[in-house]
């Protein structure tokens, strides 16, 4: 039986980006706050120091900083007619585990989502009519507009020290920036990172085709920087060990050094690591959370009573905890009713690889997670979809993130998988190849969802989360169209360097859990204005259990074609302010259903 602990005011589940933002923002209330993190403590020194930090096998291949699926995984199937089987090894996505969460091992690409992304349904219907939306697609607006979230995007970017170039300051377009972005109040806190040769080629080629390239926004500081909270970031070395690794220089923004020390200024804040929350405890009516039950580092069960529970685990894990706890009505795909697990979405990839002669030097190992050049011309609704008939788009970029050779060994199609010819091709192309990638949006569908698996259990005896997901025709047509555009950009490099070959990277026909694609899982506990089609309100507060808030990308009604950490961070600040200024003064629903 669980030992009951002394009650506290607030419990935060998870110490990644959103948990740390909440902990820091609520610190000044002086309330008694306990944060529970399933993984261990981590600090820049010694955890992420050279040289052990640059160990590709340990961190990128054996995934030391990520969720241990031996203990806790999910099951997966492409469709409801199949039997879901466990994801026995990490692959398609890499949730974090330990202090800082995935905020330790991310690349640092920090987009704002477009105003259109916040109003995808309204603007689609306005421009194309209702009939463009397939009946099986759940296209929903955000309950928070871009303009409402702008101050919080700004706050997150300045906290992280994002390097970039504004494209639209208060409605005035800025040369060299992204002309499609929503209006921002001011430029990024740091100038863009230096440009790689690959980036320069992409910049020139895409510009020649009439596109509008700009430096990708990167939470890799281009110079030493002190953020508004007084925290020092170092200048990025461009070491090329970024995604899947910690940062030795504190140049890549991460909650473990940017936020956690500030949360600790509240003497009544306590972080318990190796504390795995099993469920949220509810009252008999399931209208009020009484606290959480967790296992401590020795495996002992504790009940931590709290007045307010904030679920700040990874998107998938938040949905898992809601289902295990009975918070909100689980989604039923047969009736299309219920909300928890509904609108799970992902992203779709593809692109082009450009092979050059040996006089073109790419130096792929010089890089940072967010170093690159992007175009937004093909994102969201930035181009006329009328003749295509699909909804959504993709950011297209040429990133110089890494040339770590266990993973990064581009060879032309037709190269044997092994042997001398393979070796020769690896050697020949390693330093003379670049990639153009598309990050495609994925909308939500009635048959893509999350629920509890009927068969498999985790090491703690709980049913695993079950993911039912596949790509739909809308997304495949979109991604194939944009993959063709990536090839066009590659072909446009022929005038800039001696291009041997442009190879198309086809988007997948079916979703597979095996190859790494993107740790941008969204939905399952989406925000909205209607409790019939959303699990949380615009402040990320559960409609059903109002003393539970659920942060993170699980709140996104559908996925966009850009990295989610910007809006994840902005929404966490937005929710923190609502909790601080409104909820704590008068606990209860912040929005009437």
């Amino acid at each position: 039986m669980a030992t009951r602990l002394r009650p506290v005011d607030i419990v935060i589940v998870g110490m990644g980006w959103t948990g740390a933002i909440l902990a820091k923002e609520l610190a000044e209330t002086g309330l008694k706050i306990v944060a529970l993190e399933r993984g261990g403590p981590r600090q820049t020194d010694p955890d992420f120091q050279e040289p052990h930090k640059d160990d590709e096998l340990r961190y990128a291949i054996r995934t030391e900083l990520m969720q241990d699926v031996q203990r806790e995984t999910l099951t997966f199937r492409n469709g409801a007619g199949e039997t879901a089987l466990p994801m026995r090894r990490l692959g398609s996505f890499l949730p974090g585990e330990g202090v800082g969460g995935a905020g330790v091992h991310w690349n640092g690409v920090t987009w704002r989502w477009l105003p259109w992304d916040h109003q995808a349904r309204t603007r689609t219907v306005e421009r194309y009519g209702r009939r463009i939306i397939p009946p099986e697609m759940n296209l929903q607006d955000w309950p928070v507009s871009y303009a409402e979230l702008e101050p919080y995007y700004d706050k997150f970017e300045y906290m992280c020290g994002v390097s970039g170039k504004a494209g639209n300051i208060a409605g005035h377009l800025q040369p060299g920036g992204n002309p499609f972005e929503g209006a921002r109040r001011r430029d990024y806190p740091n100038p863009p990172l230096p440009q790689s040769h690959a980036g320069a080629l992409f910049d020139a080629a895409s510009r020649a085709l009439g596109y509008h390239p700009f430096p990708a926004p990167a939470a890799n500081a281009s110079r030493a920087y002190v953020n508004p909270d007084g925290v020092q970031l170092g200048a990025c070395h461009l070491c090329g060990f970024c995604e899947r690794f910690g940062c030795e220089a504190d140049a890549k923004a991460s909650p473990h050094f940017l936020l956690l020390p500030l949360a600790r200024r509240n003497r009544d804040f306590e972080l318990r690591t190796h504390a795995r929350v099993l469920k949220v405890d509810l009252d008999a009516a399931r209208r009020r959370a009484t606290g959480v039950t967790y296992l401590d580092v020795r495996g002992r069960a504790f009940e931590q009573p709290a007045e307010l529970v904030i679920l700040a685990a990874y998107a998938l894990n938040n949905v898992h905890l809601m289902l295990l706890s009975g918070i909100g009505r689980p989604y039923d795909p047969r009736t299309r009713t219920g909300v928890v697990g509904r609108n799970y979405a992902y992203q779709i990839g593809g692109g082009a690889t450009v092979f050059f002669d040996e006089n073109t030097w790419i130096h792929p190992y010089m890089g940072a997670g967010g170093l690159g050049v992007a175009i937004d011309d093909l994102s969201a609704d930035n181009f006329d979809h009328g003749r295509f008939g699909f909804i959504g788009g993709a950011s297209v970029s040429c990133m110089s993130s890494s040339g770590r050779p266990i993973q990064a060994r581009p060879v032309p199609n037709g190269t044997p998988s092994w042997g001398s010819a393979w070796k020769a091709a690896v050697k020949r192309h390693y330093n003379h190849t670049l990639g153009i990638g598309l990050q495609g949006s994925v909308n939500a569908y009635d048959r893509n969802y999350l629920d509890l698996d009927p068969t498999y259990r985790d090491a703690f005896g709980r049913p695993l989360l079950r993911m039912t997901f596949d790509f739909h025709d809308n997304e495949k047509r979109m991604a194939n169209h944009i993959a063709d555009e990536c090839v066009r950009i590659g072909e446009a490099m022929r005038g800039l360097g001696n291009v041997l070959q442009v190879q198309r990277g086809a988007p997948p026909a079916r979703y597979s859990i095996v190859p790494y694609q993107s740790t941008h899982n969204t939905g399952g506990a989406v925000m909205g204005t209607n409790p019939q089609t959303s699990a949380v309100n615009r402040y990320l507060q559960s409609w059903d259990v109002p003393n539970v808030f659920v942060t993170g990308a699980c709140a996104f009604p559908q996925n966009a074609g850009r990295n989610p950490t910007g809006p994840v961070g902005a929404l966490a600040y937005w929710a923190a302010e609502a909790i601080k200024t409104r909820y704590l003064r008068r606990p209860g629903p912040l929005v009437r259903a």
Binding site: D54, L57, P405, S417
Partner: protein, 248 residues
């Protein structure tokens, strides 16, 4: 520049290795680490490297027939040639041996609770075996297959072209093992061989950073904030550096 001089310096060692390997052969009883280790010792004449203890020779996990199999398979995947070091001389079999003896081989990061079913390819690995168990069982079955189809000869006794054909047939599903999915095993073996070839030398493969020198990957501890613009579209002299180099 330094890449050129480095690989020129290694030419002597490589010839030395060829002679040793030619004597022992891949079917010989000598573990591949033995000649390669001698090579490493000879190369460690530079004072800066003398402090590093060479990786110990021999196998922890593999039984002798398994060692012969893995050496013979790695020789197919990453042969010795003029392009760059062969996988065997680079220590890849020793790398795989150490990986299988350790956490990876014992199933770290692998969910192994049942029930088990084959599933669809999109659902990934579904065997109830740890990597170490999988190697042990699959090697036995591949040797059985080879004996049946190649005049009683084990995999490692076959000429390189035949070994290549056996692995390719398994990979493409044209040959079947008695009980195990051959394609899944060949994919794992190839992945582990590539890991060993390109991982930091601290794990026993990529000896003397030979694979990194081959492609021009400088290794760990890089600082390129100014180099990226100074060497834009131009070659750069690279100083190769491993984890052990930086720990000294």
């Amino acid at each position: 520049m330094s890449r050129d001089s480095a690989s020129a310096g290694r030419g002597v060692d490589r010839r030395h290795f060829v002679a040793a390997a030619g004597a022992a052969g891949f079917a010989g009883a000598l573990p591949a680490g033995a000649p390669a280790l001698a090579q490493h010792g000879g190369h460690g004449a530079a004072p800066a490297r003398a402090a590093a203890s060479p990786p110990p020779a021999g196998y922890v996990f593999f039984m002798p027939p398994e060692a012969r199999f893995v050496e013979a398979a790695v020789d197919v995947f990453i042969p010795h040639d003029d392009v760059g070091p062969g996988g065997v001389e680079a220590g890849v079999p020793a790398f795989i041996d150490r990986q299988l003896a350790g956490a990876f081989g014992r199933g770290a990061g692998l969910y192994l609770q049942g029930p088990f079913a084959d599933g669809a390819p999109t659902q990934g690995y579904q065997l109830p075996l740890t990597p170490a168990e999988f190697y042990r069982a699959a090697i036995r079955e591949i040797d059985e297959l080879c004996r049946r189809e190649h005049d009683g000869k084990r995999f490692d006794e076959l000429p390189a072209a035949t070994r290549d054909a056996v692995l390719l047939a398994l990979r493409e599903g044209r040959a079947a093992l008695a009980t195990l999915p051959g394609a899944t095993f060949v994919a794992l073996l190839l992945q582990n061989a590539i890991e060993g070839y390109f991982a930091d030398p601290i794990y026993g493969g990529n000896r003397d950073m030979g694979a990194w020198r081959m492609i021009g990957f400088p290794g760990v501890g890089g600082m390129y904030a100014t180099a990226i613009e100074e060497h834009r579209n131009a070659p750069m002299a690279v100083e190769f550096r491993s984890i052990a180099d930086m720990q000294r």
